[in-house]
């Protein structure tokens, strides 16, 4: 259900303006400028990166099944996209699924998996040690999560029961606002002392759901926990601690950082390209990346105030358009690079809104 609805939703938003691969990139959270901008331009921040481990062949198969069921129409030609049929429009109603409303992909696509691993491992560790068992096989194979939980455990040693009671209260409070199905899936996934949680396949078979649906519902519940914790950290201290990261600020790639330094020394984009033996387009990509991550980075050397205003004007009027169409609609001619820079800027303007969505 949820998986299909997410796909139909994305198809309806793109409305044939992007290839099928773009939907896949969006859902798996590809970190390309194009994909991030697509998420914002077409208002699909909520589903960006919600299913990073989705395999391409599973995605392709489902798209074709939806087409075979007459819900979407596949367009022909190179890089063809797809659009909803009339029947598809009737069936596309993601807002009727409760867990859909919890999804906040753009905000939590990175924190979510980290949060989940820490939570599972924390519960398994505390449940075991509270029962005097320190020899158990951790269900999460992730060095970073393990060392995080180890530290948390050391700080809580001797008071495990108190921490467990607190975490129980926090989870209970949130799960009470979820549906029975959501709460049950979540509870079945947890491991503790002498009890190992269920795999996605097992949950899918038991509940008569598809594996992608189980995955997405669990992701949605995690997002709900994250947003509850971030809006009320005093009420959810332990969940809040699972969400903390060392690098709350996203950093740009090393290569983009070098480009930024050279630009700062007064080199032009062509000179940076020559100095680093890169194509000039790569250097331009770096600049967009920097603008996307650093709201204080001035784009003025590359886009004049007037050009920016023109692009903004077109963006407001032709919302769901391809870069090419935007370019054609701007009088006086601007480059793709300039459009992308302005888009990167508008991201920041929308960001405050996106986090509170």
């Amino acid at each position: 259900m949820l998986f299909d609805q997410v796909l139909l939703f994305a198809v309806s938003r793109f409305a044939g303006n992007r290839s099928n691969a773009a939907i896949y990139h969006l859902i798996t959270g590809r970190k390309s400028i194009q994909t991030i901008q697509d998420a914002k331009l077409f208002h699909m921040q909520n589903i960006y990166g919600i299913y990073p481990v989705l395999k391409k062949h599973i995605y392709d198969r489902r798209i074709h099944e939806l087409a075979a069921a007459g819900l979407i129409r596949l367009h022909n030609g190179e890089r063809a996209g797809c659009s909803l049929t009339e029947k598809g429009h009737e069936h596309c109603n993601p807002e009727e699924i409760p867990s859909y409303h919890y999804l906040l992909g753009m905000a939590y696509h990175e924190t979510g998996p980290v949060f989940m691993k820490r939570l599972f491992l924390y519960v398994q560790t505390f449940s075991n040690t509270a029962n005097g068992n320190s020899k158990f096989i951790p269900i999460v194979d992730d060095g970073a999560a393990m060392s995080w939980v180890r530290t948390a455990y050391r700080n809580a040693k001797g008071r495990e029961a108190k921490f467990m009671a607190q975490l129980y209260r926090e989870l209970e409070k949130i799960l009470e606002t979820c549906t029975e199905e959501e709460a049950n899936l979540f509870a079945d996934r947890l491991s503790g002392h002498r009890h190992i949680g269920k795999s996605l396949d097992q949950l899918a078979i038991e509940e008569g759901m598809s594996v992608p649906d189980v995955y997405l519902v669990l992701t949605a519940v995690i997002h709900r926990m994250l947003s509850a914790a971030s809006s009320n950290s005093e009420q959810f201290p332990i969940l809040t601690s699972f969400a903390s990261t060392d690098r709350d600020k996203q950093t740009v790639s090393d290569s983009a950082a070098v480009t930024r330094r050279l630009l700062g020394q007064g080199l032009g984009t062509d000179q940076v390209a020559a100095a680093r033996n890169l194509k000039e387009n790569t250097v331009l990509d770096h600049i967009v990346e920097i603008a996307l991550h650093d709201r204080h980075y001035s784009i003025r050397p590359f886009v004049s105030e007037q050009e920016e205003a023109q692009i903004m004007n077109v963006l407001e009027n032709v919302q769901s358009a391809k870069l090419k169409e935007i370019k054609e609609a701007v009088a006086g001619g601007v480059t793709y690079f300039q459009i992308r820079l302005v888009l990167a800027r508008t991201n920041h303007m929308n960001e405050a809104g996106a986090a509170n969505e």
Binding site: V53, F136, V140, D141, Y168, F186, R194, K198, S199, I205
Partner: protein
Amino acid sequence: MSESDLGRLEEQLHRYFGYSAFRTGQQQIIEDILAGQDVFGILPTGTGKSVCYQLPAKLIPGLTIVVTPLVSLMLDQVKELQAIRYKGAAALNSFVSPLERKRIFRDIHMYDLIYVSPELLQQKEVLAALKRTEISLFVIDEAHCISQWGHEFRPDYLKLGDILESLGSPQVLALSATAAPFVREDIRRILKRPGLLERIYPMDRENIALSIQPAQDEEDKLSVIMKWLQKDPGPSLIYFSSRIASEETAQRLIARLPDKRIAFYHGGMDQMDRVLVQQQFMNGQLDIICCTSAFGMGINKKDIRLVIHYHFPPNLESFIQEIGRAGRDGGNSISLLLYNEQDLFLTKRLLENELPGEGALHAIFQILGGLVSSGRTQIGQGPEYQNLFQVNETQWRFLYYQFEKHGIIKDNQLVYEEAVWKGAFQEIQRHIKHRMAYKETKLSEMAAWMMETGCLREALYRHFQEGFKVPEINCCISCGLDESLYENQGAEMHHDRHAASWKDKLQAIFFCGGVQ
């Protein structure tokens, strides 16, 4: 070794592992290692092969490297070591993040034991890090993989001999549960260690009865399996030759046997889900696992009672390994192989798919020639080349290794020399024929065993060792089996909590120490 020395060794065993005595073969092999010998140890499954290097790793200065075929196997071992507080062990594999890897390399001299895949050993960065430290022991676990997999799936296994030289020729320990004399010879040759001291312990397991049953078709197999499972045989494994078959049959069994706890397991599953299924089985939350050969190596569950082969493996070695997962506690257990004539064709086709055919090789050389004449000499191991040459992943890995070996590919570049290519073509063609013939021989050994009308035990082990222990009761289907011996073996079930609310489930985990 004197009495007091032995006492000290046992003391160390107890200190690190909590065991009070060595099991068959362990002590002899450890003594050989401490005396500086290169050793080839063949120990039956379930007798604690890993102690043979985990203990020496603690006792001798320098690093012990363990080459392991499966990432899951590596992770299990490291986790088990962590669980007993054995420090200084790490696993290097593709799941380890670059940062974590850098950290391990930086502190390399702090480790006693590092597990690594043969593929990772090919990376310059990994080799360079290992060269910076003193390597005192180089272990090849599941060493039969060198011969069984090296020639096709895992050509990097064939390079272990060169790796050993580049690491300064450290002492070697090869370990396996099954290796016929021919395979042992192959391993010695590939490792370039003709002097490996063989320590072979009999691999026959008298507590595992052997049964073969013909089946008309899939439905027939399913009903035989259901008949067995309904008798409550205890923890059971069912082996399949494909991932999809393991999933589908598991789902059918789940639908038909609602009171049994059944799951599937294969190498295509997500890492965490693999751990969950494995641990549920260890923890007694599952009765039956439908799996591929990816399940089992390194799984240390002692009370598996029944191993069914829905599909038979391509050789007797694999079969012995897989049934050897049963009855490690010494209790009565049984192996049941289901056989249908179609299966032979299926297995044959799987084998043939591992290598490119004769016609395909011709076409591949033509494409190679085309690449060279159009100046596109850059080449790699990626999937785009599988498409280009119309071969599968295994075949491309095999070919790439062969092309490197014969000088057609050097440093990811095609190098054209007419005479070299002609010779290489013939060599590779001959090699493929040779390998196919070898595999077919192994397969026909397996097939012949399935047709055996005499004692199955005698027929199974005669390829590997002289003689075997004759069980007092229940040897095999030919000698006579009392199947009631394997009934009502299920342990107490922790009952599923279908009726329980999510709050009950959470409370059980948070406050009551799990579900009872």
